[in-house]
């Protein structure tokens, strides 16, 4: 990017700089420390044009909205479209979550993102839901609950994100859209889907995740049928280059699995998106988002031969890291999440959820959830950072880190691609477990700073920042009783003939290994419960192995 003679001049300049640094260090007898990023990449004290001399601006960086999209997926960034503010919600029954959603929409939230839906393969009355139902997300039994969840919410106005990839829940969302009179062609939203290697034959028949992508490609052109989540595994402790590599690998595997069903790459790829974390190391994170955009674009264009530029775009939602929030001095988490969120904005996120400061203690209260929303709004409306596209682009440091991260991720990606898919997925899971432990050890022995935990610790009664008068949201055991009663009512009210017929149709669909989404929509419209649907599937397939989907009933 620079002329030879200028680089020579800079080299001279750098020599002078290094000598002056040595002088200062010597004067104060300070030892020069080797530093790294959080992920262990070497980090220099300063960066100069020499660090990015091999970059070609046109080929490696380019304009926002141009290949390889290092600077962003659109030419205009946040100038024409703010990121979607999509705080995660999910508490109690559909009623409580609907109330919280409506409140947040009124406060300026622009996206719908609900957790807990269809995670468990049993009905609310099962003893396994005791003391749990409604705490780690909203509980859904039947379509009636989804109707309650969307009560007063116009699905054509709000962009919907389904956390997890429960197929019955996805079918319920489609059934509810149909009830609201929305044409599937206009329905927009996202499902956190990702293909794992199982199913019959090269077309992976019986793999519900492939079914979702195939169905959406054919029927829901505006639905992001795949949102590869690497956020949770990053939050176990893996590194930034691993987050990039694992995401690109899983995205590529999903793409290839759908293509195997005779669908063109350019029909599938434009609706693949990603769900990423935003971690502590601010500079590294900004570079991470840029590096991943570039690597995904190059992978889809060069390896998958996609021709439609929309196929090359790495669009992403981010949820700020939670593992770095502390139960000690919890108000400090407000500051942490703000920094995480800022990195995501400077990295060009399309959509974001900011964690609440009380999440290491309980489910966020209405007040703490509002504060998360305001964090996003203050960054967007007051700080000015959203007015310039990729404002840190061109920084010698950020460009150099972007190069390093892409390079390192590419190495890991190649290793994964040399493995058999099942092995590669296992490797990803194992890395999560292993790195979580190493991360904790680094905190325990004070190598990794955590304010309030291994730095600036305040013992109880010594003052400092505590929660003050902030409330903590408690668990209401009534949620479970209410939900059991509701399911009972739905079952009594539904048409038994229709329910029986739907059960039979669903069983046949499972047996014949046809795409399950269509029959599932019919099944949920007959008000079959998720528990009943799982029983039907198990009749055909036997008990499912849920170890690859975090024990949740996803993609089945």
């Amino acid at each position: 990017m620079f002329k030879e003679e200028i680089l020579k001049e800079i080299e001279q300049l750098n020599k002078g700089y290094e000598a002056s640094v040595k002088e200062v260090l010597k004067k104060f007898s300070i030892e020069e420390k080797e530093m790294t990023t959080l992920s262990g990449l070497p980090l220099k004290p300063i960066y100069t044009p020499l660090d990015i001399k091999d970059n070609n601006y046109v080929e490696d960086i380019s304009s926002p909205g141009s290949y390889p999209f290092t600077r962003g997926v659109t030419p205009t960034g946040y100038r024409t479209k703010e990121w979607t503010i999509r705080q995660v919600v999910g508490l109690g029954t559909a009623e409580e979550t609907n109330e919280r959603l409506k409140y947040l929409f009124k406060q300026g939230q622009t996206g719908f993102s609900v957790c807990g839906m269809g995670y468990q393969p049993y009905e609310s009355g099962d003893e396994r839901s005791f003391g749990i139902l409604g705490k780690g997300g909203v509980w859904i039994d039947t379509l009636a609950d989804i109707e309650t969840l969307f009560d007063g919410i116009d699905m054509s106005e709000i962009s919907i994100n389904q956390i997890g990839f429960s197929i019955p829940v996805f079918a319920m969302i489609l059934a509810e859209a149909e009830r609201q009179g929305i044409d599937f062609k206009n329905l927009s939203g996202t499902i956190q889907n990702c293909v794992f290697p199982f199913g019959e034959g090269p077309q992976m028949r019986g793999n519900g995740s492939v079914d979702i992508s195939e169905y959406c490609t054919k029927n829901l052109p505006r639905w992001n049928h795949t949102s590869i989540s690497v956020r949770n595994i990053r939050d176990e402790g893996i590194s930034a280059p691993q987050e990039i590599a694992f995401g690109v690998y899983m995205g590529g595997f999903t793409l290839q699995s759908v293509i195997a069903r005779n669908i063109d790459v350019d029909e599938v790829a434009p609706r693949i998106s990603f769900f990423l974390s935003s971690e502590n190391d601010f500079l590294e994170e900004v570079a991470k988002f840029r590096a991943m955009r570039r690597l995904w674009a190059r992978t889809v264009k060069e390896r998958f031969n996609a021709r439609d530029p929309r196929s090359w775009l790495m669009r992403f939602h981010t949820q700020t890291t939670a593992i770095n929030l502390t139960a000690q001095q919890p108000l400090n988490n407000v500051i942490r999440s703000t920094i995480h969120a800022l990195a995501a904005v400077l990295g060009g996120a399309q959509s974001m959820s900011v964690n609440s400061f009380d999440e290491a203690l309980a489910i966020p209260t209405r007040a703490s959830a509002t504060l998360s929303l305001r964090t996003q709004q203050i960054i967007g409306h007051e700080s000015g950072v959203a007015n310039v596209i990729d404002p840190l682009g061109g920084s010698y440091c950020i460009e150099s880190l972007t190069n390093q991260l892409e390079q390192k991720a590419l190495e890991t990606l190649k290793e994964l691609e040399d493995m058999e898919p099942r092995k590669a997925y296992k490797y990803i899971v194992d890395q999560g477990k292993e790195s979580g432990y190493l991360r904790q050890k680094a905190i325990d022995n004070n190598e990794r700073a955590m304010v309030g935990v291994n730095r600036f610790v305040v013992r109880e009664g010594e003052g400092g920042i505590d929660l003050g008068n902030t409330d903590i949201l408690g668990y209401d055991p009534v949620w479970r009783d209410k939900q059991i009663e509701r399911l009972d009512r739905v079952k009594k009210k539904r048409d038994p003939g229709k329910a029986e017929k739907a059960k039979k149709l669903l069983e046949d669909a499972y047996r014949n290994r046809i795409n399950i989404i269509g029959p599932m929509v019919e099944a949920v419209k007959a008000y079959l419960s998720i528990g009943e649907i799982v029983e039907i599937r198990e009749k055909v397939y036997g008990p499912a192995d849920l170890s690859h989907v975090w024990g949740c009933y996803f993609g089945m």
Binding site: D235, T326, L361, W550
Partner: protein, 135 residues
């Protein structure tokens, strides 16, 4: 009575998924020479059964998605029903501060929330392990 009996801990969780803390604690205890049985997601009646079967000294109960004020008393009650007195319960995870006194009130002393050092849990287990009455 074996004086050098290894301490045995059954680790269980209240829900599947988001198991970072669970694995970290499991590995940390193992590295400290404590035997760890990874039980995964179990509900209180299953936990009691596994704890007895595995002849453990401690149950390490990770709670993140559930309500500790409901699940932990239920576990305590089930152990009492079966007159099991030599298995101690340790709780870890998302424990809202107002719940801590409730748990202490039913005899749970080992409560570990985010920000805990692994060595604190190891020390707790060692100092509360009674080689004379256990095993």
């Amino acid at each position: 009575m074996e004086l050098n009996k290894k301490i045995r801990v059954l680790l269980v969780s209240d829900s599947p998924g988001h198991a970072t803390g669970y694995y970290v604690v499991g590995k940390g205890l193992r590295e400290a020479g404590i035997e760890v049985i990874l039980g995964g997601f179990q509900i209180p009646p299953q936990i009691v059964k596994s704890a007895v079967q595995e002849d453990v000294d401690f149950i390490g109960y990770r709670i993140m998605d559930g309500a500790p004020e409901i699940l932990v008393p239920r576990l305590v009650e089930l152990l009492k029903e079966r007159s099991i007195r030599d298995i101690q319960i340790i709780v870890g995870g998302i424990i809202p501060p107002p719940i801590v006194p409730t748990l202490k009130g039913i005899g749970i002393e080992g409560i570990f929330t985010p920000g805990t050092k692994i060595s604190d849990i190891v020390d707790y287990v060692r100092s509360h392990f009674d080689a004379g009455t256990s095993g």
